[in-house]
Amino acid sequence: MSARLAQKIAFTILLLATLLVVLPVIFILGIIVAKGASAISWEFLFSMPRDGMTAGGIFPAVLGTLYLVLGAVLFAVPLGVLAAVYLVEYSSDNWFSRLVKLAIVNLAGVPSVVYGLFGLGIFVTFFRFGASILSGSLTLGIMILPVIITSAREALESVPRHFRTVSLSLGASRWQTIRHSVLPHALPGILTGMILGLGRAAGETAPILFTVAAFYLPRLPQSVFDQTMALPYHLYVISTQVPGIAENVRYGTALVLLTLVLLLNLAAIVLRSRFRRKKKW
């Protein structure tokens, strides 16, 4: 077999494998768009649900999801970045830092329903936040912490050593060095992790099930201690719990959720490539 033929075969196999990955995604998207697009309207996006969710819009769920995601990020990003800074810049390779790293890896593999139960136990019951945006955000925040810490760690580790050396050699303190010579250059990676976390937090149902999500609440939350509707749970409810909901409403809701998550991921990709073009070391 000639080298060229071998290359052709290998190339074809790779192409097929890629198609195999992409096709289902396109298929799912296609179905959702085909069946759901007709439901999308200004009213659908921005009005309250009516008549036991069979009519009206999904605005409280959209807004609720945005609140939850925002809350999760406000909680998880500062905490995650600080943890990553500690692990990369301060801790030496001792049993404690190894334990923390191991914990983070394991946390990433915990099923989301376990986070839900954890949130119920800690935030709803123990801290008495009740089923509320606060509890839900914190639960989602904890769920996305591993993603954020891991990507922040990788981002920090990819900042060349000599940035730190030079900065310290100019008499900058350790913290000044991190603040001015390391963090700015790790920002794209940190942002990417943040947006991946955003996407995950927006899409998960189980963590918000017991901690915040309302079955049917046709008004907007007034404070962080209020319950709220949220898109993933709303989708679950109208798909399985309430009979007589038009198909295009169900798929329309899915389309909104999917678009939200895809937009967030797209933002991550754009940000990353923007920053990548700028960095040249």
Binding site: H162, T165, S169, L170, H180
Partner: protein, 254 residues
């Protein structure tokens, strides 16, 4: 500075990396406003000795230093020594040109900002002065906001020298500053050192014997962590006192 025109003085300086002794009983006196070259075969401890002077060795786990190191008459390893201030006053230029991926301007003001040495309105003036000192002003005066990574290697290395000048250092440490540069650029940096030594004490590590001979006033020859011989460059290169030194500079090993 200190009484006798000595910028750096070490006494019975030992340094260990864990169990490995990298410097043994180094006694060295570096005069002010001269270029002092450190030469010797690879691994003899030149970089280690240089990093003693701004305590960059402190960053390495398991380093132990004993003996005394005076810079400007002050014991830099004293318990109450101010590490950040030491590094402000003892600047370092590295082997590979390593500007930050920032603009030319920001590279030069980095140290100023860190030490809050001057109000922002003086930055323009200080940047110009620093660039003039390294003879870059005419080339770069219209490119101050460009990324420093777009400069030629020689320009980058000059910029790295300019970056430490706003801190008004007393000593400039240079660890093989020309090893990434071509011969012409190397000569330019050597000329620059002659100019800078009117204001600063310079200690340079080099593998290039001609460079030591051309550019330095005094030379120290190191071998296996010991300072074998130290003296006027002219004397070291013509009538070394030690046979080891003679063997090294005549190229019989190294």
């Amino acid at each position: 500075m200190s009484m006798s025109g000595i910028a750096i003085a070490t006494q019975r300086l030992d340094l260990f990396y864990g169990d490995f002794q990298a410097l043994t009983a180094v006694d060295l006196q570096v005069p002010e406003r001269e270029v002092t070259a450190l030469i010797g075969p690879s691994g003899c401890g030149k970089s280690t000795l240089l990093r003693v002077f701004n305590r960059m060795n402190d960053l390495i786990d398991g380093v132990r230093v004993s003996g005394q190191v005076l810079i400007g008459g002050k014991d830099i390893y004293a318990v109450d020594a101010d590490l950040l201030r030491l590094r402000e006053k003892v600047g370092m230029v590295f082997q590979r040109p390593n500007p930050f991926p920032l603009s030319v301007f920001e590279n030069i003001t980095f140290g100023l900002a860190v030490h809050q040495l001057a109000p922002r309105r003086e930055y323009d003036m200080i940047v110009e002065k620093a660039l003039r000192s390294v003879l870059l002003w005419d080339d770069l005066k219209d490119k101050l906001q460009r990324s420093a990574l777009g400069l030629s290697l020689e320009q980058q290395q000059r910029l790295c020298i300019a970056r430490v000048l706003p801190l008004k250092p007393q000593v400039l440490l240079m660890d093989e500053p020309c090893s990434a540069l071509d011969p012409i650029a190397t000569l330019h940096i050597e000329e620059l050192m002659q100019k800078l030594k009117q204001e600063y004490t310079i200690v340079i590590v080099t593998h290039n014997m001609q460079q030591a001979a051309r550019a330095s006033d005094r030379t120290g020859f190191m071998y296996l962590g010991k300072l074998v011989e130290f003296g006027l460059t002219a004397k070291i290169f013509t009538q070394p006192a030690q046979e080891l030194t003679e063997n090294y500079i005549s190229g019989r090993f190294g």
